[in-house]
């Protein structure tokens, strides 16, 4: 284990930034989100970011291809793949798990080369959650906020930031900055982990009725009358989808440029009215159906296809950000009978 005094963190950021792009939580007007580091950036590692870290590998918008027309001929070019290493720093345990869930979507079956290139070149420096919030429920999914994984795990305690490589990629990354670190034992980190464990045990949402959900629960859940009341409070704004680290639905659109056509993809929400709209209509015309789709996908359909793994990591962002306080926890408690 290595450590670095918190007062020297800027020197680490600058050293990384000299070699490769560095993304980390930056505070702007009180809002903390992952952003690209530049000298003097207002880094804030203490607050949960509003949006998840998924942009690092699955950006909100990205170009897939360019089309040019030469006479009658169409020339197709593939959008650029990321080809240089970058660091995403300060990722919480929930978001790290979410990367693995996105891996099962984008790397299994047909390979998504855009995602793969980012995954290959991205180095994940995780950070433990010293004070899990009341909206957090990651422990339900077997995630330990005191052991955040990634390529390098980090911890802040005692005026120091501690670093522990998890993967080969992480070890190679740390070796590049070895001169900045001091060697350390893991005593302070172990103490911190015990403290975090105590907080997690007392969180109000740490005991959700997960057994009522899973890949084999379609018939038990799909026609439940409770969907009516649950969906009625949802205003369909899509905030939950956009802050969610595992929501993976996307749209593909073309736009005309001065020289041709660009085709890009961008995040989309299965709760949107036009999501399944075709020329002859939509197969989910009601708000209830669209609301149900999002939760059934996370709690039933995804597990059915991925060895029982839920596509929720309990980060609590939807709990914190929904303007009408409707969220997956309420859905689970209502349908799971633990009100």
């Amino acid at each position: 284990m290595k450590k670095l005094a918190l007062s020297n963190l800027n020197s680490l950021y600058n050293a990384i930034n000299d070699k490769m792009k560095l993304y980390l939580p930056i505070e702007n007007n009180g809002a903390v989100n992952f952003g690209e580091y530049s000298d003097g950036a207002n880094v804030n590692l203490n607050k949960m970011t509003i949006k998840s870290a998924k942009d690092a590998f699955f950006p909100q918008c990205e170009d897939l291809s360019n089309f040019k027309k030469e006479g009658k001929h169409i020339i197709v070019e593939q959008g650029e793949l990321v080809s240089e290493n970058f660091v995403i720093f300060g990722v919480r345990a929930c978001d790290v798990r979410a990367f693995h869930i996105l891996d099962t979507v984008f790397l299994e079956g047909y390979l998504d080369t855009f995602y793969e290139a980012r995954r290959k070149h991205g180095i994940v420096i995780s950070l433990s959650c010293n004070k899990p919030e009341e909206s957090c429920f990651c422990s339900n999914f077997g995630i330990d906020p005191a052991e955040p994984k990634g390529d390098v795990e980090s911890y802040i305690t005692d005026g120091y930031m501690y670093f522990n490589p998890v993967t080969q990629k992480g070890a190679e990354f740390m070796a590049q900055f070895d001169s900045l670190f001091e060697n350390s034992d893991d005593k302070a980190v172990k103490e911190l982990q015990v403290k975090i464990g105590d907080i997690v045990g007392k969180l109000p949402l740490s005991n959700l009725p997960l057994n009522e959900f899973g890949g084999d629960k379609l018939d038990a859940l799909f026609n439940r009358p409770e969907w009516q009341g649950l969906s009625e409070s949802c205003i369909g704004c899509g905030t939950c989808t956009y802050v969610c680290p595992t929501c993976q639905c996307y749209d593909v659109k073309d736009y005309k440029t001065n020289t041709g056509v660009k085709r890009f993809r961008c995040w989309d929400s299965c709760m949107r009215k036009d999501f399944t709209m075709m020329a002859h209509g939509t197969n989910r015309p009601s708000h209830l159906q669209r609301f149900r789709q999002r939760f059934m996908h996370k709690l039933v359909y995804h597990p059915a296809n991925h060895n029982g793994e839920f596509s929720c990591v309990g980060c609590g962002r939807c709990v914190a950000k929904c303007p009408v306080s409707m969220n997956i926890v309420k859905v689970m408690k209502t349908l799971g009978g633990n009100k």
């Binding site: 169409i74 080369t113 996307y250 993809r265 999501f275 075709m278 996908h297």
Partner: protein
Amino acid sequence: MSEIIKDELVPHVAKVISVRTDTNDVKTFGVVGIDGGIMFDHRPGQCAMVSIPGVGEAMFSITSSPTNNQFKEFSIKRCGILTEAIHQLEVGDEITVRGPYGKPFPVDDAFAKKNLLFIAGGIGIAPLRSVINYVRANRDNYGHVDVLYGARSSGDLVDYEEMTKEWANDKDFNVYVTIDRPEDSWGGHVGFVPAYLKELAFDNNRTAVICGPPIMIKFVLQGLIEMGFDKTQVYTTLELKMKCGIGKCGRCNIGSKFVCKDGPVFRCDEIDELPNEY
């Protein structure tokens, strides 16, 4: 520097080599790759993403049989923004195509040695034509074949020439055509497909393949069950909104299935296990 690997979402350029006007709103396009070849091998029932860059991209079934090794055909009904633009295409125009996608009909296993009953309505003939011509090209591998095809009017029948002049002349092959309402110049059968199916009273010693508007599929399936068919003997194809075609964008997800990759072909007992959202 961009790498050479082409992502599955990045399409290939293709060229229109023929345009056939079938009806007021259906045209059939012959398409080859830019090198003049068939672009890719496919199996009957599979689809491809066809695009006019700047307008859009959508999934269409490949109506030609895999035994056509010179070009692919797409029968496309004009019903939205992209299909409207596709209908403006002329011979020599370029488009993009990627695929093939989806699970095909089990033509070499579950269908082998069986009597086959194809039931289609309107543009629903498009995916079935691929199977039918595959069966005709491998005639010894199948039993008796019946095709029941219906459309709103005689002007809405797709592939009418081919089915009446070629298919109907094959050995052990019957073609039954119907239109919804009487017309002065029409000497054939008049009535909806499900009603005609009952009149024809097929025995259940055959495998049925249905494609058409959802309401037709519903009543045909009901009719087949009444005629003693088991749902495991009946196949159909589903159609939902698709953007990626490879099971990731989420649009065609119903239950734990993605119609683009787990379908579009489903056996009717498999559909029973899906939520009723198609």
